[in-house]
Symmetry: C2
Subunit: 432 residues, 2 copies
């Protein structure tokens, strides 16, 4: 019934993701052929590291160190890009599409930075590019935005989309570890890289949020549009106060649209402990979406790892391969509305948690409250504890009612200049 004897696959990169994909394609070849209607044939693998190639125990004839041998192979229909990073992945993807090949990629960086460009090119060349694995590993997240939730006007996305930081925060919350010990644990277990910057500073989450927000709001959201703060400033004290106040601390990627104005930000957040999202622990990811018809939906699962990521990559391959076999061409449709604006962080409105070290003297709280009041910020609760009597140091923790970020930043500047305040130890935004 199909039109093809087989469909040729080329794989770029045999790292964690590429290795998982190659394994899945080999081990379940029969089931995949049944799904597609003809066999999927892995014809070439680009891998510079010959030790990796040997360790894979796959036929050495599959391997090449020359990208042109994969991208230029006339018997290859679909290129799976699993190199990661911006270059040379971007060039290979464009080259492949230029040669009429469909592309499946798990590369959030390339996609976040070149989303409209890559989709336009695919359309122009009459090919498709799928990228389900770029956000949330094996959790179906891209497809819902491209299809299942399409009838909705999406108002908000709240996402835990970085497993490394969620693992670190979970350890800090459950065991009272400080940040650097929790990071070391994560590195030891392979959940954090030797250079963890991209994860702990929220850069990885910002790439993923840019992709989701672009799809959800039909407008181009670039990584540099995403306000980004990492988790390294959080201390075990913040976790103790959060618990006392009924909150969990999570690194959230947040995107909201209101009146054609979009806010996109990645930073630590106090989340009420009874929310489902607050209960997402360890390396798990979860994305909560709010649409005007569907209400609140949430998708949960493992956001990384060889097997979950290959689940998404192989599903994309099946999707394209089925259409090749049916002789059907579908190119990406990405409608972008250029009229929407990105809201600067100074204009967002949220509640705040503020932890300060002050001298231990009457009247300190009054001075702080006055500054907040002068900036139109109301306090919803206060915790004041003598943390070190001998050193004449007290700790004051405040939660505010909703206020504008600009006013809050101004007030914090003024508070820090008070002679009774030693430092603002931390401030964290609160989402309800």
């Amino acid at each position: 019934m199909g039109k093809r004897e087989s469909i040729g696959i080329g794989l770029l990169g045999l790292g964690v993701v590429g290795g998982g994909v190659a394994k899945a394609l080999m081990e379940r070849a029969e089931a995949l052929a049944a799904q597609v209607g003809c066999p999927l044939c892995l014809r070439k693998i680009l891998e510079k590291d010959l030790a990796k190639a040997r360790a894979s125990k796959m036929d050495t004839a599959l391997f090449t160190t020359d990208p042109a041998e994969v991208i230029g192979d006339p018997d290859i229909d679909i290129i799976i890009e699993a190199l990661g990073g911006e270059r040379p992945a971007l060039d290979f993807i464009k080259e492949a599409m230029g040669r009429g090949k469909h592309v499946v990629t798990s590369n959030k960086e390339v996609l976040a930075k070149h989303f409209p460009e890559l989709l336009s090119l695919a359309k122009e060349k009459g090919v498709d590019i799928l990228y389900e694995a770029s956000v949330g590993g094996g959790i179906p997240l891209i497809a819902p935005f491209k299809q299942d939730l399409l009838a909705n006007k999406i108002s908000a996305i709240y996402a835990i989309i970085n497993g490394t930081t969620n693992y670190i925060l979970t350890r800090m919350a459950s065991e009272g570890l400080d940040f650097s010990s929790a990071l070391k644990q994560a590195q030891k277990l392979g959940y954090a890289e030797a250079d963890p910057t991209n994860d702990i500073e929220g850069i990885d989450a910002a790439y993923k949020l840019a992709i989701l927000a672009t799809l959800a709001f039909h407008t181009e959201v670039r990584p540099q549009d995403v306000y980004c703060e990492g988790i390294s400033r959080l201390s075990s004290r913040d976790f103790r106060y959060a618990r006392e106040l009924g909150y969990e601390i999570k690194l959230l990627a947040i995107a909201k649209e209101k009146d054609a104005s979009i806010e996109v930000r990645v930073h630590p957040v106090f989340l009420p402990e009874d929310l489902l999202l607050a209960k997402v622990d360890g390396v798990y990811n979860a994305v909560q979406v709010e649409g005007d018809l569907v209400g609140r939906v949430l998708f949960y699962g493992q956001g990384a790892g060889a097997a979950p990521t290959s689940s998404a990559v192989v599903a994309d391959v099946i999707n394209i391969a089925r259409r090749i076999n049916l002789g059907v061409t579908i190119t990406p449709t990405l409608r972008l509305d250029p009229t929407k604006k990105i809201k600067p962080i100074s204009e967002i409105e949220t509640r705040y948690y503020l932890r300060m070290s002050t001298v231990d003297r009457p009247g300190v709280l009054a001075k702080i409250s006055k500054i907040l009041g002068d900036n139109l910020i109301s306090i919803s609760s206060v915790i004041q504890k003598e943390s070190d009597v001998s050193a004449d140091v007290a700790e004051i923790v405040l939660m505010t009612y909703p206020a504008q970020e600009r006013a809050m930043q101004k007030a914090m500047g003024e508070i820090e200049r008070l002679d009774v305040v030693r430092e603002i130890s931390n401030f964290v935004r609160v989402e309800d």
Copy 2:
């Protein structure tokens, strides 16, 4: 760029779902036209109740009481079936496909009972039938099985897929209500129907589970294959013991595959309180899926209601309409493996919670334990409380280690015949 000036829609039924769909199609006509590439035109609505038609404030010329006027209209490309129930919905769907029309349905009963038949007919007639709204309202659930999780071998589904019963159980758990009061509350709020049988006896959940299991395991699972027990036997005492033991009680729809043998069952379950699924409260639904690549994923949202359901129906309409506009024909693919067997409930293995009313005398527990031991069932924990000293009645609560259902049923028969046991008040299966 599209091939069509417009795409004609016919709607069968203007009830809760149909009304929501009509509203969505009207109100967001412009956005939908942009998604599809040409306008979606609602041409005819079948509705016997003319009061409903008038109340809708839609053009009265749209309405008819004659199904042939909708199904037979040559300008209609897609029929949306929103009548519910098996007949006449089934006949209308078949008739529509016979006339070359695509079908979108939210009808779990028709689908669960005639799944392979309807998909084969669609294939034969060169049309598509989509049914995302049939399970879990607006939560994307069908699409993941048909597409995103396709690379996986699915081993288990654990689903809260009936909002009515989850609402009742949540009220019983949080407020100590008994079943009949909680049911009355649900009816008052419109979460339960006047005749609540289909919901509270698990029949609705069984239809939905049959659909999910058929898709997940690529084998026909019929509603009558699903072992089904409702929630009416649960009492507030069971909730108190559950809490004491660290569990929540949920009506779960469970499907598992092991060694080409499938178990499908709907019944109340003790779920460890720290599982995400145990925290799904009120009318919300959640479906947890376990795949060999993806691991554990969970989908959460509102499983019913006009707006969430229309989110799914309209997405299906967009999906088909886009393909019509591109001139692409895709018919359903449902591969069914006839070699898999349905496991009878007597052969399942799980843990059990058992609550008994006994005489208040030494040695009672020893007699019960002996019967369990003789049937190779081990006890993991016991709670014994004097519930009514004056009446010489004690209550014994047991949790077992995993045992086979057949052995458990036999043991319960023997325990009930003990002269020191007044009754087995309840038993509930436990999932970890």
